[in-house]
């Protein structure tokens, strides 16, 4: 690799040819502020439109200041990153941005996490010298995501995520000049676009232009209603990230404190979505073995591979883009919905509560879950199995709102019976986790043998597309894994073209899996945070006394007392679903 030398702020820097000035500066610890620039290094995600001009630097011999994020470092270049001309230019750029930005920081949901606000503070901006026209655009509210593009600074990060990473194609910059906005086709509402609600646009938005629909108030009302029994479930990835919102180290597990906090918030029963994840494995694993058995016996009507269906962003994506293949995903509902279905039948009966008087809340690392729980097929006479879904961020705000001293809470356990879970349920939060959990159970059921080692390390990792062959006692099971919808698209196109020989494929919509979900605390482009969360999830798994879903005593009891057998009639009714062709669901306004 060819190396070059340049001088930045009187320091000699040696970097590979092709490196940007920004990265060269960061290599020697020189910080250049950025705003539109965004990077998730390990995921090969980068946004550098060079549009905001906050990262400008002075390069000797050049007339104009250059954006460090989009300027290649050259041999012998002499760069100054903080002389008065540079600092004045940056300041002006931010002042101009704020001059066309609402001044509602006090009540903006992004306050404290807003990168524009941070920049204004950093530059000590105390007044806006520019008066002029302001953008006004309607606020677009969908089941999961709110677009308030008056707060948009045209950094194009969401566009990059939606198009390049996720290949969803819901958002694009439209119009030009002052009227330019990021919007769906024909400036329709997000709800009428191919948006999957994965929320990755929200997770990278530097300002409050893209945020989640907040359901905290609805839950406070439900908790205050004496006639309601309010129960809560928490997804695996939440416990690995919630602590961040309270200043704890990245990758700190807060399972016990989270349960304690939820109890103090007033939830009558604090349960774990991991329980439902174990249940998912029973259903999905049985379905996999059933389809595999028939396929191996020569039944041509049985389609393989089987696709996991836990991720609602992914379900939306294939309903829009692979509507010709609706028969290959597993029919198993997601853990969130399995939980709701069991809570409002089995558990409601157990405690003698009518389903109409029970409110099921889920805490999810995800924004698509908000949409999922509103889907009509998950309602009984209009009453949803899961009433409200809160993101990890919303839960953190809720805890702060209630003045709970999170850091000093004792560790508490989940309630029974739907709080009992195994290590297999926990790893649902990581990419590769669902299929590993399925393998732990399917292996033992298929071979009748006990697994010597429950970890399938070949299924773990952060590469966007992975494959592995697991030896099922002589039967080689080919497994594919993708995280990020762009990667999923590649895997699925190969399946469509008959180019792959996978038996099972796990897909999660968000980079890293649920730990990198659209509802998680903002990582601001630091991919080491995602790795630490992933490690925490595996740590929780390793510490569990039971690590295989089919050994969960409360799951065994649930089948004995209520469901009968996995994929049996009752399961089919309560725990399985069907998919819709949404490829034609984009409507054109007249």
């Amino acid at each position: 690799m060819e190396m070059i030398k340049l001088t930045i702020d009187n320091k000699i820097v040696e970097v590979e040819k092709g490196t940007t000035v920004l990265k060269a500066a960061r290599k020697v610890g020189i910080d250049i502020p950025t705003l539109c620039y965004f990077e998730l290094g390990d995921m090969k995600i980068e946004n550098k439109p060079g549009g905001c001009r906050v990262c400008v630097v002075e390069i000797e011999g050049r007339k104009n200041l250059a954006p460090a994020c989009a300027t290649e470092a050259m041999e012998g270049m002499v760069v100054d990153t903080h002389n008065i001309r540079v600092l004045n230019a940056r300041r002006t750029v931010v002042e101009l941005m704020i001059s066309d930005h609402p001044y509602d920081c006090l009540i903006c949901s992004k306050s404290g996490n807003c990168e524009l606000q941070t920049m204004a503070q950093k530059f000590g901006i105390r007044e806006i010298p520019y008066q002029g026209e302001k953008s006004t655009y309607r606020v677009d509210t969908s089941p999961s995501i709110i677009r308030d593009v008056d707060k948009c600074i045209m950094c194009r990060r969401c566009e990059m995520m939606c198009n390049d990473v996720q290949t969803v194609g819901a958002l694009s910059a439209v119009n030009r000049g002052f009227t330019a906005v990021v919007a769906p086709a024909f400036e329709m509402n997000l709800e009428k676009s191919p948006c999957t609600y994965c929320g990755q646009c929200v997770s990278v938005c530097p300002t409050g232009a893209l945020t989640e629909v907040d359901h905290t108030r609805n839950i406070i009302s439900a908790l205050a209603d004496k006639t309601k029994t309010v129960i809560v479930q928490t997804a695996p990835a939440v416990r690995a990230a919630l602590g961040e919102e309270f200043g704890m180290e990245y990758g700190t597990l807060v399972t016990g404190k989270m349960a304690a906090a939820l109890r103090r918030l007033g939830f009558k029963y604090v349960f774990d979505t991991d329980f439902a994840a174990d249940l998912t494995i029973m259903e999905e694993g049985t379905e996999l073995l059933g389809r595999l058995g028939k396929h191996l016996a020569g039944d041509k009507d049985v389609k393989l591979p089987i696709l996991t269906s836990c991720c609602p962003g992914w379900v939306n994506f294939f309903e829009h883009n692979f509507s010709d293949m609706l028969d290959i995903p597993s029919t198993a509902k997601s853990p969130q919905q399995m939980f709701g279905a069991i809570a409002k039948t089995y558990f409601a009966d157990k405690i003698g509560v009518n389903r109409k008087d029970m409110v099921v809340v889920s805490i999810m690392p995800c924004l698509a879950k908000k949409y999922e729980c509103q889907r009509d097929e998950f309602k009984v006479d209009g009453n949803p199995d899961v009433d409200f879904s809160l993101s990890t961020r919303e839960l953190a705000h809720f805890i702060k709102q209630a003045n709970i001293d999170f850091l000093n809470l004792p560790d508490e356990d989940f309630d029974h019976p739907m709080g009992e879970s195994t290590g297999a349920g926990v790893i649902f939060g990581n990419t590769g986790g669902v299929i590993e959990a399925a393998c732990r159970t399917a292996y033992e059921i298929h071979t009748g043998k006990k697994l010597e080692k429950v970890e399938f390390n070949q299924l773990r990792g952060m590469d966007g597309i992975r494959s592995a062959t697991i030896d099922f006692n002589g039967l080689p099971l080919n497994i594919g894994i993708a995280h990020g919808l762009g990667n999923a698209r590649k895997l699925l196109e190969d399946v469509r073209d008959g180019k792959s020989n996978f038996h099972a494929i796990e897909i999660m919509a968000c980079p890293g899996g649920c730990i990198g979900g659209g509802g998680q605390p903002y990582h601001h482009g630091d991919s080491s945070i995602l790795k630490k969360r992933a490690a925490a999830i595996y740590q929780e798994d390793a510490g569990k006394p039971i690590r295989k879903s089919h050994e969960n005593p409360d799951i065994i009891k649930l089948y004995e007392e209520f469901l009968g057998t996995p994929c049996g009639e009752k399961s089919h009714h309560l725990l399985h679903t069907h998919y819709f062709d949404k490829s034609n669901e984009v409507f054109i306004q007249e």
Binding site: S172, V174, A185, E187, V586, F587, I588
Partner: protein
């Protein structure tokens, strides 16, 4: 991606245009250009077809259509009227002629009259500066147009 209201013929024509550019993403602007030349405008359904053929998102196609002022989603009138705003025409009073057309037709530049007969646009120099100010109705050129003559031009096409 859409409940199409376009006729089979029209869809096939658009597909042909895309095919003539090898269905390449990078040819989007050329495809749009050619399609607009054929249809006069680029309605939503047409953009949907092009997006599908070139394998790009509809949002992206719409982004390009709304970025370039040459592209329009409004159908042109039966008789598209263009007023030259080139230097020669401008100094000889093209703007007053344009204002008169706006007043007579009750539409702004880029719009089409309610009955669908006339649309109004501006252009830069048709190479007939000796005839300034110049107005085009369809392919027909009118020279030395004065605001007083606007009514007569419109009347020619009213029936």
């Amino acid at each position: 991606m859409v409940n199409l209201k376009l006729s089979e013929d029209k869809i096939n024509q658009i597909k042909e245009i895309c095919k003539s550019f090898n269905n390449e993403k990078g040819e989007l602007i050329n495809v749009l250009h050619k399609t607009q030349t054929m249809y006069g405008y680029l309605p939503a359904e047409v953009q949907e077809v092009i997006a599908r053929e070139l394998n790009v998102s509809t949002a992206h196609v719409y982004g390009v259509v709304t970025f370039y002022s040459f592209f329009t989603m409004i159908p042109k009138g039966e008789f598209p009227i263009s007023i030259c705003m080139g230097t020669a025409c401008y100094v000889r009073g093209a703007e007053k002629v344009l204002d008169e057309f706006k007043r007579e037709l009750k539409i702004a530049v880029g719009e089409t009259s309610k009955d669908g007969k006339f649309s109004l646009s501006c252009l830069r120099c048709v190479g007939a500066c000796g005839l300034a100010p110049v107005v085009l109705v369809g392919e027909k050129v009118y020279g030395r147009v004065s605001p007083d003559g606007v009514k007569d031009i419109i009347a020619e096409y009213k029936q």
